[in-house]
């Protein structure tokens, strides 16, 4: 599948992946994250039950302290 991840085209050999799998594959290891799938916030407890498919727009942000 081809998706948009953080405004860049990303191709995976899989037809679908959960958000949890994408976090592992793309090495988003930081504990504090905010995820939006097609502009909808996905809660942490739903990362392993939410599937990403062809054409989806995924945002994964590390929430860093500081300001």
């Amino acid at each position: 599948m081809q998706i948009t991840l953080n405004n860049k085209i990303e191709v995976f050999p899989n037809e679908t992946l959960t958000i949890k799998e994408i976090l592992e594959l793309k090495k988003f290891t930081y504990p504090k994250l905010i995820v939006k799938l097609n502009d909808v916030i996905i809660e942490k407890e739903d990362f392993d039950s939410t599937f990403v498919k062809e054409g989806d727009n995924l945002m994964i942000l590390h929430l860093l302290a500081g300001g």
Binding site: I41, L63, L64
Partner: protein, 194 residues
């Protein structure tokens, strides 16, 4: 556009600033200088000496409440700005009330939990409002990695890498760059389609 034309547009605009620390105080001052009509600023905190390495306060203001003091500092720069200050701890309950009338909201917290709270709250309650956040600005140097990223109505300024820590503190130059980048995006959005 001339500065007079710009001011004519900005006078009718309202910007909310969530947090009056390094990002919020500097962003608010930039927006006040260019003439944004109304600024709604909020913070629960008091000014500490350690804040003065980056925040828009003065030595003789240590111990004073941030939101009220920032209002005073803004008024000294541009008395024509209408500043509404809230000395409160912002949460998912009061954000929808305090920032209801804003054209754009600026996220200017230091804690990542607070950043998460406002991103989630604004996205849920105000899906049509722009939220301009600052993420990753600790340390010094590395100008070239500070950037903006746009995700619909959510806009992120910063390097996305440098989190504050004992050995990577937030300091005036980089915090100033990111806060002014946020102000610059706010200005761009406010002047668009006018």
């Amino acid at each position: 556009m001339t500065f007079m034309e710009i001011q004519k547009i900005l006078i009718n605009k309202t910007v909310g600033i969530a947090g009056c620390g390094g990002l919020g105080s500097n962003c608010a001052v930039a927006l006040a200088r260019v003439g944004v009509g109304t600024l709604i600023i909020a913070d629960f905190d008091k000014i500490e000496e350690s804040n003065l390495n980056r925040q828009y306060y003065f030595y003789d203001q240590i111990g004073l409440p941030k939101s009220e003091t920032l209002k005073g500092n803004i008024k000294r720069i541009n008395p024509k700005v209408n500043v509404i200050n809230h000395q409160v701890f912002l949460d998912e309950k009061n954000v929808p009330v305090i920032f209801k009338d804003c054209d754009i909201i600026v996220e200017a917290f230091d804690k990542s939990e607070a950043k998460e709270m406002i991103i989630k709250t604004v996205s849920k309650v105000f899906p049509d409002k722009y939220l301009v956040c600052g993420i990753g600005m600790a340390g010094w140097g590395q100008n070239e990695i500070i950037k903006e990223q746009r995700f619909g109505k959510l806009i992120i300024c910063g390097d996305g890498i440098n989190e504050i820590s004992e050995n990577n503190p937030p300091l005036a130059p980089r915090v100033g760059i990111v806060s002014n980048m946020q102000a610059n995006i706010v200005l761009e959005l406010l002047l668009k389609n006018n």
